[in-house]
């Protein structure tokens, strides 16, 4: 008997120079064109945007956080609501993280054992709580996202203790098996394993090879974007995408700067998420291809141009930098305006990447992108190195 797969992956086009590719996955709540950037709607909402606005922008998938939703509103309410899609009125796809990253990054008192992560709850009772792989999947089953993440043993990339990292690699795989075992909705939700191993190439290789033996619909590369140097970062991404199979999506967690997205697409990643575009909007920063605009700055007070003349978003159609400059960080609705622009910026970037790959002009796109960002051609070393590893030379 065959059941319908909750993730159908189709490879559409491959770049002939780099490892970049265009693909599409069809999930229970619709298709997702990749490479894709997934904005983060932590608590079942994306910073001041209505789900219908996001739908109108053509957003196909967003991320929500298991840790936050498990705390509030909690599993019981989510189940009564019939899942997060219904609760928040979002009809397109959702992905939830496992909660493990929040444990380690938000909570000082987290203690990791074989059983799970023990931590002091942030809720009013301050009770000690244990998040196990089983419990994480239980919450994620209640949320009902199209893609869910295994609970992983996250070690900071800056931790030098190799024995501890090795332990985390093997534990992550053991936890993956426990997650798969208790998964109640394999017909509607895909669990992605997470490749760990910080910056040790041998450990990353073990982790990736262990994971590809499991019967899953896609893979994530975790534990990066945590303060390591860019020179280390790209090499690990490069290594992981060399091992992970071509016929399944590869999700690089926590990456969202435009430059990083372009490079990691070249390295063969398909999915990305990051709070950066929406968080920076709250501080009055608008994204453009030539860098960030901090709209609070005095120089924008009489600048009657839009944030970006080529941007099709409502904010760029209707508002000037001068206006935004006077309202950002003062009124909440100004934050909504910048958020919309930044979300559209990310979506347009990914669309341009996809189009250039389809036309087999991705290397030209990358060169033009980098030149716009570094008009004096003073490219960072990691940018040159990573691109030359996939046969794009910026010195031409």
């Amino acid at each position: 008997m065959t059941t319908k797969s909750p993730l159908v992956f189709t490879l559409i086009a491959e770049c002939h120079t780099t490892k970049a590719r265009v693909s599409r996955m069809v999930l229970p709540h619709g298709p997702v064109d990749m490479p894709v950037f997934m904005p983060v709607g932590t608590q079942g909402t994306l910073k001041g945007m209505l789900p219908e606005q996001l739908e109108e922008l053509g957003l196909q998938i967003m991320l929500a956080n298991t840790y936050h939703l498990g705390t509030k509103p909690g599993v019981e309410i989510l189940e009564k609501a019939g899942g997060l899609h219904k609760f928040m009125n979002w009809n397109n796809c959702l992905l939830t993280d496992s909660g493990g990253f929040q444990m380690v990054s938000l909570l000082k008192l987290a203690e990791i054992t074989e059983e799970g992560v023990r931590f002091q709850s942030l809720n009013d009772q301050k009770a000690e709580v244990m998040l196990t792989p089983e419990h994480s999947i239980e919450i994620q089953n209640a949320i009902g996202a199209d893609i869910v993440m295994q609970l992983d043993d996250v070690v900071r990339t800056t931790n030098p203790d190799k024995a501890r990292i090795e332990e985390s690699v093997h534990r992550t795989t053991r936890w993956l098996d426990r997650c798969l075992q208790v998964h109640k909705k394999p017909d509607t939700q895909s669990i992605f394993p997470i490749v760990q191993g910080t910056l040790y190439e041998d450990l990353r290789e073990i982790s990736a090879k262990d994971h590809i033996k499991r019967h899953v619909n896609g893979y994530a590369i975790g534990g990066l974007s945590g303060g390591e140097s860019k020179d280390d970062f790209w090499k690990i991404v490069h290594l992981c995408t060399n091992i992970l199979p071509k016929d399944k999506p590869r999700y690089l967690m926590g990456v969202g700067f435009a430059e990083d997205l372009v490079i990691c697409c070249a390295l063969g990643c398909d999915m990305f998420d990051c709070v950066f575009p929406t968080r920076t909007a709250r501080f009055g920063c608008a994204l453009t291809r030539t860098g960030q605009l901090n709209l609070k700055k005095e120089k924008f007070k009489k600048d009657f141009k839009p944030i970006d003349e080529n941007c099709p978003c409502n904010t760029c159609k209707n508002y000037t930098r001068a206006y935004l400059s006077g309202v950002v960080t003062v009124y909440p609705s100004a934050c909504h305006l910048i958020t919309e622009h930044n979300v559209v910026f990310q979506m347009r970037l990914m669309k341009d990447i996809r189009e250039s790959i389809k036309q087999d002009k991705f290397p030209e796109f990358v060169r033009k992108f980098m030149l716009d960002l570094y008009p004096n051609k003073e490219y960072p070393t990691w940018v040159r190195d990573s691109l030359s590893a996939v046969n794009i030379s910026l010195t031409l």
């Binding site: 608590q43 909402t45 509103p73 309410i77 206006y323 006077g326 909440p332 609705s333």
Partner: protein, 395 residues
Amino acid sequence: MKFYVESVSKCAQRLGTLSEIDAKPSVSIKTPAVMLHTQGGQIPHITHEVFKLVSRDPQILQIPLAGMHTFKEAMQYYEGTISNFIGSKDSLTCLTLQDPCNITKQGHNSTLKVPIWTKNGKVYYDAKSYMDVVESFKPDIYFLLSDGDTNISSSEKRISKSLSNTVSFYKECLERHRKSQTLANSFVIAPVVGGYKQLAREKFLKSILADVKDVGGFLIDGLHNNGPETEFLEFAEIEPVVKNILNKLPTDKLRVIQGCWNPVNVINLVEMGIDLFDSSYCHILTERSAAMTFAIEPTDQTDTYEINLRDAKYLDDFQPILTGCNCTSCTKYSRAYIHHLLSVHELLGPILVMIHNVYHYLRFFEKIRKCVKSNTLQALQVSITEQFQNHQKTK
């Protein structure tokens, strides 16, 4: 812009139309109407883009100067009008001095200038600097500068000062208006001050009514210091003052009142012949996480007047804010979801509450116009008053 009123009685409910707007000839606004209160050029929590989900009808945006002072310099260089600048080119704008949602702090008055509170603190405006702003903003409607810092407990001395300041502002601003080509098509609203002292009100009216050419309407100012307290003012206290003023004003001019009056008092004021209000009440409610649920039509399915969505009883209440309401918040989101958003301080919480409140309030004004037309305002007043009193009892 011109105001046409269908009645000539001095102090009675009436219907009117604001039309023949210079740049927007196809637009007309039926009164009694509500201006949409804005801060920094946006309805609080609702961008102009999101407002399209609430209504596509033409609106007057009320633009308090306090939130716009920051653009004073930029607007001198900007070529368009304030409605273009704030991103709502199809709306009409009405520039006002104080923000009805924020308390005007007392005791900061001075001779021939008035304070407003901006994000950078207190700023004084005199007739010249105020009219400079009006000229660069080019609003469709504007209030003349006034010193309306009076309330029921103001001293004779304060009221007398408010009078002399405002008479002087009136003359200077009007003179400037008459000379200005830019403002030739702007609709002028003259504030009427004098606190709760009938003699002072009469004295003020005497000194301005001799010269009301170019004045399109009057603002009943000086009744309160703005902010949330306006909601709880007793109608019995303001009634004699307002009545006395309305009896002396020319009937063919627009009558405006500012502040977050509760729905009962809005009806009372409409009954006396007020034409134009503002939506600050929606914002005041949203700030306390409250949504309007009073019945406008007898068929509305509700037994509450207003509900507080932070209340834990909404944790698993999957009904809409108001069953049967057609606003985006009610058709697509539940009380439980909004409760969740409010309790985790997410930006979407107040957005959804505000969408409902503004939608409900616009519907309320539509009903008011219908009732005035069919002479049934009395029945609406009875119904809203009863709901309000029941709500006060259960609180």
